[in-house]
Amino acid sequence: GAGVSQTPSNKVTEKGKYVELRCDPISGHTALYWYRQSLGQGPEFLIYFQGTGAADDSGLPNDRFFAVRPEGSVSTLKIQRTERGDSAVYLCASSLTGGTNYGYTFGSGTRLTVV
């Protein structure tokens, strides 16, 4: 597609439930990133994929968070046993190769609310 697509745009879930957030990057972009943005804050890095592999997952806050990108295109961020503190906007971005010569394109994000 023309841009980075994220679905759903909004998700409300109960505390303790499992959620999946989807990201469709720009076609041909090998690098994919997940960020989390809390209200009034800048985005915080979660995980970076180069192709199918999670090259850097140092930003994942704990083992309840997991992400996959099985075919090197679409990625899914999975959150188990959701907590109210997980409420935030989850942003996905893609880049042509992941190097510093290319910028990111961000999606519009998924707003997750845990009640």
């Binding site: 690098a31 180069q50 140092s58 992941g98 190097g99 990111y104 994000g109």
Partner: protein, 116 residues
């Protein structure tokens, strides 16, 4: 710890005036900086970037200035328009543990409001 931050959380200017948004960074090893604009309900949108071997870069109505001596970055927007109202973030590009990879460290952001 290392951080990227902004001096002012909010800024209001009259339409047609120039605006300046400031940013301080603390990682002296950072060599690449990016300004993003974020409108409500949307993801960050790239505005302009600058590498550490430059001190000024200009785009269409925007200029970024980099002062490495005091670790300060600014975004100047000329002849502001209502569509410039948004939150602006500076971001510091840091190398990942993987060669050639990168990740962005964002500041808190400045909300710019253009008054008619």
């Amino acid at each position: 710890g290392e951080s990227v931050g902004l001096h002012l959380p909010t800024l209001s200017v009259q339409e047609g005036d120039n605006s300046i948004i400031n940013c301080a960074y603390s990682n002296s090893a950072s060599d690449y900086f990016i300004w993003y604009k974020q409108e409500s309900g949307k993801g960050p949108q790239f505005i302009i970037d600058i590498r550490s071997n430059m001190d000024k870069r200009q785009g269409q109505r925007v200029t970024v200035l980099l002062n490495k001596t005091v670790k300060h970055l600014s975004l100047q927007i000329a002849a502001t328009q209502p569509g410039d109202s948004a939150v602006y973030f500076c971001a510091e590009n840091r190398p990942s543990t993987i060669q050639g990879a990168q990740k962005l460290v964002f500041g808190q952001g400045t909300r710019l409001t253009i008054n008619p």
